[in-house]
Amino acid sequence: MKLRFLLAKDLLLLRRTPSIAILLALYPALVAVLIGLAVGRPPAKPRVAIVNQVPADERILDVGGKKFDLDKLIESLYKNVDAVDVKDRAAAVEQVQSGDAVAAVVIPKDIVDQLESPLAQGKIEAIFDASDPVRKSYVETTIKGLLVDTNAELTRRFSGVALDYMDLIVDGGSIRIGGRTVELMGLEGGEKLLPKILPYIPAQQRAEVAKLAESFRLARVGSQYSDELLNRVGEPIKLTEKPIGTSSSLPSLAVAVAVCVSAMFVALLLGAGMLAYEQEDQMLQRLLRGLVKRRTIVNEKILLAGLCALVVGTVMVVAFGFFIDIRWQRAWAWWPAVIGASVAFGAAGVAIGAVSGDVRAASLASFMLGLPLAAAALVPEGAIADSMYSLLQAINSLFPFKPALELVRAGLTPGRDALVPSLHLLVLIFAYGLLANFAVKRRAGA
């Protein structure tokens, strides 16, 4: 009953502090809109300047008598980027230096000769700004990605030419060599011809001719595998993806992160601030001299912070629904997850407020602890040294962000484990509650 009176009083206090109320309403809406727009729309293509130095009337490639349009061959260069054609190399460099383009690709004038030559390898030039290591890595990956597609296309076309040659060897036909057209019999023609001329061959040499005919046959049969073999040359290793665990879409991860970050800050700041506020002006002493039990104050503040964080978290999920596909039918799973996360953050906030003692220190401590701990929980395995990752894991286990994130993700995505993070949060709620009780006892000087 007394908890209800205190809760009503605190909600009235919040209502009468418009700046906090507005912040609590606007903050999650703003975060949801920003993240929603970011994950709900396809990522922008990187802008790449392309200089094609080959004159327009010389963009025909002749490989093995087959003619290819160079523009078609390099079409994939344009496919995955926001390509902008520039007139020369200097203009391309200027685009990169000014930041208008992340990179420039220069297709040299002699690329046609290089590709037609059986001895040379085609070369194109990539220009990018290496002063920012993060951007450099991104641009390198982008350019390599572009060339993978272009090379695959060239391999497919060149393999086709090679297969045409194989067909000529097997089936026979005409080929132009040194400006003359030459007729080839082919393995199949030879195989058919040899039995016919066998009676005219002296008896002691017939066995040799029969061996030759058999060789023709075996070569023809063997050539049937050339199609497959050439395909293998083009792609010697084919990657078969076998993901394990429950797949979780990027938007659902983004929702979980946004909900947890928002709920965390609201609950930490409110839990810490409201308990610290209670300690100012000897209010805590007044309440604790028999009016209210210590644990009632602690539980009420956890409930208050959890309640506000729950409202914020729920509003965020609903707001995300305008941008991405939320599984509303799983509300029975994600809403309790948001409740658990909110209460756990509230307990952590109240403990911070109890230890800090005054509102300013409590608010500062909430930010200083919340921000790095949330960031630490988002570091993926393998991104840092094993020992450092183990240390982060140990730290993460003491703070509710990581289990809260896992629980909310489990709520949003079917098949993910919810039991372990739930138990983890329960332990943390209990531990932070105890810590807050102990700190309040010390503060009250009892």
């Binding site: 206090l13 002006d281 000897q282």
Partner: protein, 232 residues
């Protein structure tokens, strides 16, 4: 017949002895000043009597009295109105009809015309009267006040003492801490004088080495100085 007794009350904070075995009794209807220089143990004694702190030694006998406590700072919620503050504490005290108790208290502390004003908008004196109202809301027989006039100007102080005197006239026993000798002289019927945690005097203020025509504060200071010299 005492309404409140403290026997051998001890409280320490680490190596510091805040209260070193204070023994005293308070009679019904008395206005008792707990006086002494800063750091003498006045707040500690009142906090122990109020139940805010536990003593490390000794015992308290309340003789069935109900205690109200007014801390040094006006511990009220600034964003709540005067009436809401009184009603909240009436509810927390378990008063039968909190709204009626709050309305009655508004008259007693002379804040009826400010009932719907937020506490943060009140003057220091009014806020202190509200804090006393909160201390009185459970209808106590003894009211403990920790330096109630410390942050008030002379006019507000006078107004507050009018209220406290009226409470005493209505039979409420009052214990207040102060380091202002003039308040002891003007308002207390008895003084408990503390120095460095030790109760060094328990009696009428006028018997504290007071010579007619001499300023009371001088007698007050002389008494403590003399006692300290004797100890040396």
């Amino acid at each position: 017949m005492p309404v409140l007794e403290g026997r051998e009350l001890v409280r320490t904070y680490g190596d510091l002895t805040a209260l070193a075995g204070a023994t005293f009794a308070v009679e019904a209807g008395e206005v008792v000043a707990v006086a002494g220089p800063n750091g003498s143990g006045k707040t500690t004694l009142l906090s122990i009597l109020a139940g805010v702190q536990s003593p490390d030694g000794g015992e308290i006998d309340m003789h069935g009295s109900r205690l109200g406590w007014v801390p040094q700072r006006a511990a009220v919620y600034g964003k709540l109105t005067v009436r809401e503050n009184l009603k909240l504490f009436a509810r927390l005290e378990g008063v039968g009809d909190p709204a009626a108790a709050a309305d009655a208290m508004l008259g007693r502390i002379a804040l009826a015309d400010r009932a719907d004003t937020r506490a943060e908008e009140l003057s220091g004196g009014m806020r202190q009267r509200l804090s006393i109202g909160v201390g009185l809301i459970s209808d106590p027989t003894i009211l403990l006040l920790d330096e109630p006039t410390a942050a008030l100007d002379p006019l507000q102080r006078e107004r507050l003492w009018e209220l406290l005197t009226s409470l005493a006239e209505h039979g409420i026993t009052i214990l207040f801490s102060t380091h202002a000798a003039n308040e002891v002289e003007a308002h207390a019927t008895r003084v408990l004088l503390l120095d460095a945690g030790t109760l060094v005097y328990d009696g009428a203020p006028m018997s504290l080495g007071h010579v007619p025509g001499r300023h009371f504060e001088a007698a007050f200071v002389d008494f403590i100085r003399t006692r300290r010299d004797e100890d040396l």
